[in-house]
């Protein structure tokens, strides 16, 4: 395997991805990511000098519309999906001490 993923890298990617992996999952993730990157490295065979990155297949620009409310007040339905709610608000863990 050409790409060796270090413990530090997996730790860092876990922070970016907001995932907490067990020791076993970390080892698996290192192996999986290494293999995938080896495979993706195939793209290096192609000379893409001067090629513009293509993010959208059609030449569309930003699409704007007037900022007007078109839907109804769905407060109850939306809150109904929250894991925890209180007084019409989403409950979250304490964010600062």
């Amino acid at each position: 395997m050409a790409n060796i993923i270090s413990d530090e890298t997996i730790e860092y990617v876990g922070i970016l991805a907001k995932l907490e992996l067990s020791a076993e999952e970390k080892e698996q993730a290192k192996a999986d990511m290494g293999r995938m990157l080896d495979y993706i490295d195939k793209l290096g065979e192609l000379d893409t000098t001067g090629v513009e990155p293509l993010s959208h297949v059609f030449p569309v620009q930003n699409v704007f519309r007037e900022d007007v409310v078109t839907n109804s007040d769905m407060r109850e339905e939306l809150l109904g999906n929250a894991p925890e709610q209180k007084d019409g608000m989403f409950m979250v863990p304490r964010t600062f001490e």
Binding site: L19, D32, R35, I40, P53, N81
Partner: protein, 502 residues
């Protein structure tokens, strides 16, 4: 003829003619699901009461002459990544195990306007990440042609439900082949339209630059009718395209005289099963016999499509799936110490293995220091792939090839090696990268009794050429057996996880 053997358009015609009612059609389908779905597990949620209520309402409108379209009163199944107001929408993930949307996806609304009756939500690979429907948190779906095999994925529940006669047609979504490949494995018709043709509003996002909703049907006529119903310009989806040419049923014409069809040599090379190759080339010869001009050519860059796709799709997935944080909806972990611990534990417990694998890869290729080398590089190769297709479509109306290198693999086989599973998408994936339309339809049966799929690819906005070619081929081919008729060959599955919601 039993309703389970009829196409969607035939069922609607029978209802219009007063030979059956929408309520009878829904009841027959629900009975079929009740009787058979333990074998196949096509559905995550069956909405019995809701379907019957919709059917009564639709029948009244048909009787009053308010609903006259070609799909009015016909029961449909919807992939479980499209939001349905008041009806559980899980994306086949534990993290959305209790999510009841407050609104309905635009594509589903369009079907409802056409008088569709929604039977329930179909199983899929978790967040549409997979090619076999085995990564679902709610059990695997089995292929009606042989229950020891996968139905394909990620829209495997939709394809299997059509094949098993558990709905008249279904909606799926296709990010890298997720409609066309399960259609091929289950012997039904599946179409991925040009990017932007069907609104993605209310479709739970995976790879937003690639995702597109489309039909899974029993034949090409149904496919055109469903696509005509769901295509729309929608202000709520900023990538939605305004099109005037969405009268797709007008392309149901039996004529390919002078149609220029190109077969990429690169689609017939190593890894392609001999029986699949023979069936696909036979279909091409049949079309040639009807006056099409068939040629081989080199498309090039085919082996770069998969690494390009997995880089872009993983990057977009890692960004799209950030919204699952255990706050506004979905799963929240039981025990945690502070906000970040809650985020991390909820996500780690709520997402399955394949989803976490792609989020990790996506986070990596987008991280500073690697963004240029991986993500931007993939976007540059995507531009080259698009250019290769542009050059091909300067010469050809339609590109013809296989959908997948093999017929449906056995259950469990693909999970052993993710990269091997990814390689199965080699003929479908470039179509999404270039935003093109593609259709899959049955063209043969292999020695194991499993269906083989033919793929036709068109230039952007050229769905009509695909429909015309596919329709002509279908007429030449004649009737095709349905998965439902193969039940007798299938062993009774010995286990089925009991996790369906009612």
């Amino acid at each position: 003829m039993s309703i389970t053997d009829m196409t969607a358009v035939e069922v609607a015609a029978a209802i219009r003619a007063g030979k059956m009612t929408a309520v009878e059609a829904a009841e027959a389908m629900l009975a079929r699901i009740e009787e058979q779905d333990k074998r196949y597990n096509c559905y995550v949620t069956v909405d019995r009461a809701g379907a019957l209520a919709q059917a009564r309402e639709v029948q009244a409108k048909i009787r009053a002459g308010e609903l006259t379209g070609p799909l009015a009163g016909v029961p449909v199944a919807v992939k479980d990544n499209m939001c349905t107001e008041g009806l559980l929408t899980t994306c086949s993930s534990k993290i959305l195990g209790n999510f009841v949307p407050a609104y309905t996806a635009e594509a589903v609304l369009k079907l409802k306007e056409a008088g569709a009756v929604i039977l329930g939500k179909t199983n899929m690979d978790e967040f549409a990440m997979g090619s076999t429907t085995e990564t679902s948190a709610y059990g695997v779906t089995r292929n009606p042609w042989n229950t020891g095999h996968v139905p394909g994925g990620s829209s495997g529940g939709s394809a299997a439900a059509v094949a098993a006669g558990e709905c008249c047609y279904a909606l799926g979504s296709d990010t890298g082949g997720s409609i066309r490949q399960p259609a091929s494995y289950c012997g039904v018709v599946g179409m991925k339209p040009t990017y932007g043709t069907v609104s993605r509003y209310g479709l739970i996002a995976y790879g937003s630059s690639l995702d597109q909703i489309g039909p899974l049907t029993k034949d090409v006529t149904d496919c055109a009718a469903v696509l005509e119903a769901i295509a729309s310009h929608d202000e709520k989806d900023s990538t939605s395209v305004e099109r005037q040419d969405t009268d797709f049923t007008s392309a149901l014409v039996e004529d390919v005289k002078g149609m220029r069809i190109g077969i990429p040599n690169d689609y017939l090379g190593d890894g392609l099963d001999e029986e699949v190759k023979a069936a696909v080339l036979k279909a091409a010869a049949d079309l040639e016999g009807k006056g099409a001009v068939v040629e081989r050519f080199d498309l090039s860059l085919v082996e770069y499509a998969i690494p390009t796709y997995y880089t872009i799709a993983a990057a977009e997935a890692s960004s799209n799936l950030e919204r699952f944080d255990g706050i506004k909806y979905g799963y929240r972990t039981e025990a945690y110490a502070g906000l970040h611990s809650m985020y991390k534990k909820s996500r780690s417990e709520g997402f399955g293995e394949e989803v976490k694998r792609r989020i990790m890869l996506g986070s990596f290729v987008l991280s500073s220091g690697y963004y240029d080398a991986y993500y931007l590089k993939a976007l540059r190769v995507k531009a080259l792939i698009k250019k290769a297709f542009d050059e091909a479509f300067a010469k050809y109306d339609v590109i013809l090839g296989p959908v997948a290198p093999t017929t449906a693999p056995e259950l469990g086989y693909s999970l052993l090696d993710p990269i091997r599973m990814y390689l199965g998408d080699i003929y479908t994936i470039a179509v999404n990268l270039a935003g093109l339309p593609g259709i899959s339809l049955p063209c043969g049966i292999d020695k194991n009794g499993l269906p083989i799929g033919l793929q036709l690819i068109g230039d952007c906005f050229q769905e009509k050429k695909l429909i015309q070619t596919a329709y002509t081929y279908e007429r030449l081919r004649g009737g095709f057996p349905s998965g439902k008729d193969q039940e007798i060959n299938s062993p009774e599955p010995d286990e089925k996880e009991e996790c369906r919601h009612e």
